[in-house]
Symmetry: C2
Subunit: 308 residues, 2 copies
């Protein structure tokens, strides 16, 4: 699946992932009205609204981008109905040829981590049948529990040729509370980064590992160091746009081959029509606003990569 | 909700939580047959099997225990159908008067953590209506992202009078890879424990905080230190029984008032009928085997507490 991600990046020229993190306040009123007319102001109505919203965005941007990253929390908040919308979104994006990164940040131990891995990447056995659960291509994983938590995911990745992005240095302001603490003079995130490189060495695709890392765009200097610690790991970079990261900050997340990183933007793309810059499209044409925002993001990142 | 947990513990004399972590291999054949006869060897069939299994166990033990801890991964592996079984289990246990600790180990940042908090503990707004998603009483949370990840959960806990157990020192063998690393001469788990105490001070119940910690039974010496660092936090203690923890190891997790900890056993209780010790009950009477195992666990822990 890392090979497919790279091939998508090379085909589109866009190391870009769109975060499908729908909040109801982003969903244009006409879409909400349509969903609520059918199902009422219910969880099912909310789930229908975010599904219709996602679909229209994906229809407008799928040919420009490599991957999508639905954030499962935004669906899980609507309970079962929300998770049905998550599943529909995953399936639809895969039909469109996109790589789907489930942003689930799961992490547990032993058989429990295995259950998450099976439910999101692999197949679960029921009697003599095996079924995919949510069937994403990659998922994000929290490393706090150590190898016992990560190895069951790696096992399923090997079987299914799928991949992980492991949290190393997250984009939020307080990520340093634990991640930056010094251990033998080096920050925890570097220690975690070394582990990612070690785990990744077991699972190589053609040129990069199936096992990548999450490093926030908001910490470019740390990205530079981590890029060297994990040379064969793709870095998923959140925090572009709304969280403050800019194209010029991102060059150090990439290797000399122009690969090795994929930059996520969520709100900046999916709610582009709410920004002054794209207001001219109007809420009715929110999909076109998202497309324009993707084009601008590609130009920003490509420009920064070319001028380095 | 911490007050209800304490009142349940005082009523039953059992600081015990049963981990409802059903794997199909634990579910007796007659239950699997019954479920598959109705729904086939499908995800729905599997979900029905674990629901019937859970219900029979709960019916046999609910009057002896304080709380249950369903591990959501074991349901999530069966996709949407599994999560419906999770929801039925949560609701059923609450009807039985049990405190429900959703073992979800979520953790993200800002609005995303808020979405998890809303989906599992609080209410989500849809137009003019507000709905509970999964509606557990407590959830487990991963601290790796720092305060930005935890504060949105705390906000919802305050609104709903619900609680958290934050991962501090997990029970697995490799938990030390990151958690034991020394920072200024002290292990990371102590630094996290201090944060838990700080977060907990904001959310006090009558005698303990809504904000507790997870510390594995397999690390009793560390439990002793953490007990002192977080005097007002309840400690959820996994790793009893199948993972190797014994009653005598657990006394240091409790305060002098006999409170402050709640000990979890999963496999040791729910799959008791598969152990030699309880084999006499037979698979048909697996609920009675679970009841006997709970009685033995209470005797072990009470004995250890009384003789300290």
């Amino acid at each position: 699946m890392i090979n497919k991600l790279i091939s998508n990046i090379q085909k589109t020229g866009a190391p870009i992932v769109v975060g499908l993190d729908p909040m109801l306040k982003y969903v244009p009123e006409h879409i909400q009205k349509q969903a609520f007319a059918e199902y009422g102001e219910t969880l099912k109505g909310a789930a229908e609204a975010i599904w219709l919203y996602n679909k229209e965005i994906v229809d407008h941007v799928y040919d420009l981008i490599s991957a999508v990253k639905p954030q499962i929390a935004m669906y899980e908040q609507f309970g079962i109905e929300g998770l049905i919308a998550f599943q529909k979104t995953v399936n639809y994006c895969k039909e469109k040829g996109l790589v789907v990164i489930g942003d689930i940040k799961r992490g547990d131990i032993g058989s429990t981590s295995e259950a998450y891995a099976v439910g999101h990447l692999g197949k679960v056995q029921v009697g003599s049948n095996a079924y995919y659960g949510f069937n994403e291509d990659f998922v994000t994983v929290n490393p706090y529990l150590g190898s016992d938590g990560v190895n069951p995911f790696i096992k399923v990745c090997k079987e299914e040729k799928k991949g992980l992005f492991i949290l190393v240095k997250t984009s939020n302001p307080s990520s340093g509370e634990f991640q930056d603490r010094l251990i033998d003079g080096r920050p925890l995130y570097e220690i975690v980064g070394e582990k990612v490189a070690e785990w990744g060495a077991e699972c190589m695709g053609d040129s990069y590992s199936y096992i990548g890392a999450v490093v926030g765009a908001t910490y470019p200097e740390m990205g530079k160091v981590l890029r060297k610690i994990m040379p064969k790991s793709f870095i998923l970079v959140p925090g572009y746009g709304a969280q403050g990261g800019k194209g010029a900050d991102l060059v150090h997340f990439f290797n000399e081959d122009g690969l090795g990183a994929i930059v996520n933007s969520s709100r900046g793309i999916i709610a582009a029509y709410q920004q002054e810059k794209y207001a001219k499209f109007g809420a009715e044409h929110f999909g076109e606003a998202s497309r324009a925002a993707v084009e601008d993001m590609i130009a920003d990142i490509s420009g920064a990569l070319q001028s380095r």
